[in-house]
Symmetry: none
Subunit: 200 residues, 4 copies
DNA sequence: TATGAATGAGCATTCATTCAT
DNA sequence: TATGAATGAATGCTCATTCAT
């Protein structure tokens, strides 16, 4: 019963854990009630349907993803390369929590055809892309940066598939190594721009 | 002797369609009965549990994937580049059938944590990797070919995630274009070997 | 607060009737729903499984047996012989309700090998034995009183078997007559004690 | 498939074991098929319904009971007391086979109200009574012998109830001891008759 | 004679949801 | 606001039985 804000966060966190572990359809309101300590009817007091509850959870998951992963990209106190690697490492760590993989992809593949959460999920994926592309913008032009960011996210999602069915974290580790090395291999264009602007 | 109401292949195909459309947990035996024209109890005459039925469906899906996608890699009547592109195009076409994406990834992300189909799924992904790496072997050494094949499959799976929540086939199209171009950009080592062997 | 559709005692009584009439395995939750006026799902709100429901019913049956049959043994307002006969008559009456016989024996023979209700059933039989032996204590020493009580209960259970397959209440009637006569034939040791104590 | 006589006996024996272990309602045709090695449809080839199959099994059980237990009473090569004890010992041994108790009583209490096997069961119980009373005829007049035989059978059935829920064979052992001792305690009237007839 | 396939009804149990208090 | 009680529909699975071959 989220009377205070802190309790609401805790409530959504627990729901997120259950949905992430069991999937959307395989999670019952009963499961959520048990996980949160509320009565089943209590859930309906706050969220009129399971679907709307899930939307709140997706929203909550995006907020957490933003502050834990995406925020790294904006942390200008670190050099770009370090920010890039740190982001990927955090994605990886997230996927390995109880071997749940990527929450967004889990729900995407399970419910994509139902068109039920697609709007939120696509927004999440696009925000992620924009965030990561802000790092690639140091090395590529705008359009290429976005494309490369999306490509790396795709690769990550695929790595998660291999990880999830094998339980082997090496797939994720290799992904981070590979992507980071590739990132470092591209020379910064910021530098060039700098020189140019100074030169003139 | 067996006076079946439906051919086994046809039966499994219909089940595959339903599972692919609705996912494992969200598909009921009733759904499968309706789709195949059998009674619920009739399903149980042939498959003792839903899980074992799904295993047969996974097996069937792998066979079809083998003959429709993986077989292309072995078709030496075509040059390597054409085989590569043809394979990816067929993967893409498969994903776009009723916007179902990749059957293996769908089930992987939905049931991965249950460890229920992981063995079969991992075998499928590895066979796919081996098949695709046989094309990369034309450009890379053994180890690198495998790694590059796996990387491309991962990218494909990620592209499918984007496709599934957006409905936009461009994600898949771009993937095919990108991967094919990258493949063509790498010079064949067959050529070099040839020269070398002749040179000596 | 609890806005129940049916009183708990009434609910358990109806379930007891059904189980007693049809046996454990041959009674479905549907049968119990119909008999109690609840929906099937409603039953599960109160009892998580059929087995646990049955345990509650067994408990309820024991309580009723206690207050209807066993209580007679403790009613010191009646002479021992009358209490003895009254107890047996009440057992008999119970067995003849809808020709159901002895609930405990019914369930015992049906589910005994499953070891599912044995603990409760044995407790019931032992309590019954203790209760009846308190009357025999007027005629026998402790150990013999218990043995004789158990023997008479056994004879009763056998009489019920004959009654149940024949529908002929004479078997039960004869049992009551026989046991009562035998009881009366044994001289009270209370009496002897009396004389002795006076004699000294 | 009882092609030969010996196979039919074996078939019925296996069915008897299953019914005795699981009860009538809790035994499925599937269970019987598995136990006998026949196909389910094969069972229906020989017995049109489960109920009729059970009737054959009851018949078979009675035959076996006759030759294993009741036959002892007719074995005039042994003195009456030994025949009596031997009969009870065999009953007891039968009840302890896999702790199944008395087949007739099991089915009686489970299905008695259904009136479905009562005719056969009552015949069995009466034949048993007659057989045992032939031994009591050595000690009692006709009517008393029958009554006493019935009473001892009842006591046995009750002992089986205690045995089945406790698993403790002492209940059966005590029954045999008690009944045998009581039998021996009654003087033979054969002797008296002899003297009388000779005397005149 | 024997059997694999099939079925309609039913099993214990769970679902998302509603409602009176 | 919170909850115990209730529900109609559905879940995976089993039942006794039938039928074509």
């Amino acid at each position: 019963m989220p009377v205070q804000k802190i309790e609401k966060v805790d409530f959504l966190l627990r729901c997120w854990e259950v949905f992430n572990r069991q999937g959307y359809h395989n999670t019952s309101m009963q499961d959520l009630a048990k996980a949160t300590g509320l009565q089943k009817a209590g859930l309906y007091h706050h969220y009129p349907t399971k679907q709307l509850l899930m939307e709140s959870v997706l929203d909550f998951a995006m907020q957490r993803f933003r502050s834990y992963v995406l925020a790294v990209a904006a942390d200008t106190s670190l050099p770009v390369e370090q920010r890039f690697e740190k982001m990927l490492r955090r994605q990886r760590r997230l996927a390995m929590l109880q071997r749940q993989g990527c929450f967004f992809a889990n729900i995407a593949l399970e419910t994509g055809r139902d068109e039920i959460f697609n709007k939120m999920l696509l927004l999440a994926m696009e925000e992620w892309t924009v965030s990561l592309s802000s790092l690639y913008a140091d090395r590529f032009e705008e359009a290429d940066a976005v494309m490369e960011a999306r490509r790396v996210i795709m690769e990550y999602e695929g790595a998660v598939v291999f990880y999830k069915i094998s339980g082997n974290p090496q797939y994720l580790e290799d992904f981070v190594t590979r992507a980071t090395k590739a990132f470092r291999a591209v020379p910064s264009i910021q530098h060039i721009h700098h020189h140019t602007s100074i030169g003139i």
